[in-house]
Structure formats: structure tokens, C-alpha cells
Symmetry: C2
Subunit: 126 residues, 2 copies
DNA sequence: CGGCATCCAGCCGGATACTG
DNA sequence: CAGTATCCGGCTGGATGCCG
């Protein structure tokens, strides 16, 4: 199961990245933001709010976030099934950071993308 | 070159993630932090400071960061070659955010990992 | 020294189909 | 409704070797 036990340089062990890497995936930030705005959201609502995500990936992402206790999952034993997701306290405490990242990105976006395009043009031209 | 032109849902276009995704990779954060502490670092120094990274991946990551104007690359036309990397202003402006993320991770790390392990145990047991 | 070329394994995310 | 099962393509990251 865990085979990276050997590669224990200071950096590979570094638990910070271990933690951060979990929501560095494609959808985690967005899901956290949506849960923050809507407080309690059902699975199918998330599906509709993020049209590009497949239910397989959505459920996987939710599972990871739940495992890390960033979101909580509540199942109602009814038919048809009903499952609600919401942020935990830890998840909530992450929201301001995500917002700051988002603001930073919005602020610097234009310059970054412009520079990126120019950089690639130069690379190709050279 | 760019074939995702069609998939232009609100989210897929979302430029914020487009920007953030670039340093959501395995080494970017760490490199930015190292450059912040050492101001000016040569390629081989980075190699030594991050023993787990291959030179191929390191140079790729540096290139991406340079393309986005987060770091600058200065080549000295000497033999043997000498290349120095340092943060740009934009890169520098990102440092506080990374530090906050790091602090957040350090604060919540233990709880998160504990919860994760318990979660996985439950999943296997059930 | 600072890369790039090549090759390759593993994982991530997407499409589709099916189920309690 | 809320997933799981299966399959699969592509990208990321790692190992190695070469080159100006």
C-alpha cells in the first residue's frame, strides 16, 4: 500500500505539501467555494452547478475532501436517497485563503496570461 | 495547439483556475519559497536543495514559472554556463499567500491526517 | 553547468453504463 | 438520487543519456 516509505528526504516527508496536494486537484477549490456560498448542497445540485464534472470524479473529489474532514456528508435513509454536503469547521477556515488566492489570481491574471503568450511566441520564434 | 476552445462552460473558461493551476503542480510552491529565502539561486543549487527533483522536471517547472512571470531567469554568457533565478514582483506578491497556506496546513495537519487515517480504516472495515 | 531528448510508468480525470 | 464499475487517453513526473 505505502511504498514511498524509503524516499524520506526532508521534502518528500514534508506534510504540508501532503495536505495541500489534496485540494490542489482540478475541482476541490471550486467545490469548497460552492459549499461555502450555499452552505448545504446535495450531490445532484453539485452536478448541475459544475456541468463539466462527471459524477465519478465529483464523488471521488467529495470523498477525498470528506476523508480530510474538510466537508461532511450526511445521508438521509430515504427513498430516493438524499445526501447533503457541507463544509466542516476546518473546511470553512480554508475559505478565506482560497478567496485570497482567487483575488490574487484575478488581480494578476491579465499580466500573467499576456506574459505567458509573449513568452511562448518568443520561444517559437527563436 | 489549443483544442479546448469548444469546452467553454463558465467554469472551464474560468481564468482563475487557469492561473492557479500553473503552480498547483508538485514543486512550484517549494521553488518559490526557496527563491524567496535565498533571493538569487542557481540551477544546480536548486537541484541540491531539492534532492528529489530530476533536472528535467526542475527545468520544466522553472520554465513554466518564468513564462508566467513569477520568476526571472538570468543567463551569464560564461563558460561554464551560469544561470540565476529569482522571484519577480508578481512572484514575490504570491509569497505571503503561500506562507498563509503553509501555516494553515501546519496548523491543521495533525487533525487532517488523523481523520484521513481513521476514515480509511472505517472504509476498509465496513 | 544547465539544460534538452527520449522513454516510460502511474495517476488523474473523462465517458459510458449500470445499480440499490 | 447518488453513486459504483469499467475502460481508456493524456498528462505529469521520474530515469537516463547526451550536448553546447
Amino acid at each position: 500500500m505505502q511504498k514511498k516509505e524509503e524516499k524520506n528526504s526532508i521534502i518528500e516527508i514534508c506534510p504540508v505539501r501532503n495536505v495541500i496536494a489534496r485540494f490542489g486537484n482540478k475541482w476541490a477549490f471550486l467545490i469548497i467555494l460552492i459549499l461555502n456560498e450555499n452552505k448545504i448542497v446535495r450531490f445532484s445540485e453539485l452536478c448541475r452547478m459544475i456541468p463539466d464534472i462527471s459524477s465519478r470524479v465529483l464523488s471521488g473529489t467529495l470523498r477525498t475532501l470528506e476523508a480530510d474532514n474538510l466537508i461532511s456528508r450526511k445521508v438521509y435513509p430515504v427513498v430516493p436517497p438524499k445526501v447533503e454536503y457541507q463544509l466542516t469547521e476546518i473546511g470553512l477556515s480554508l475559505v478565506p485563503l482560497i478567496n485570497m488566492l482567487t483575488e490574487w489570481a484575478q488581480t494578476n491574471m491579465k499580466k500573467i496570461i499576456a506574459h505567458r503568450e509573449q513568452f511562448e511566441t518568443n520561444s517559437n520564434a527563436e
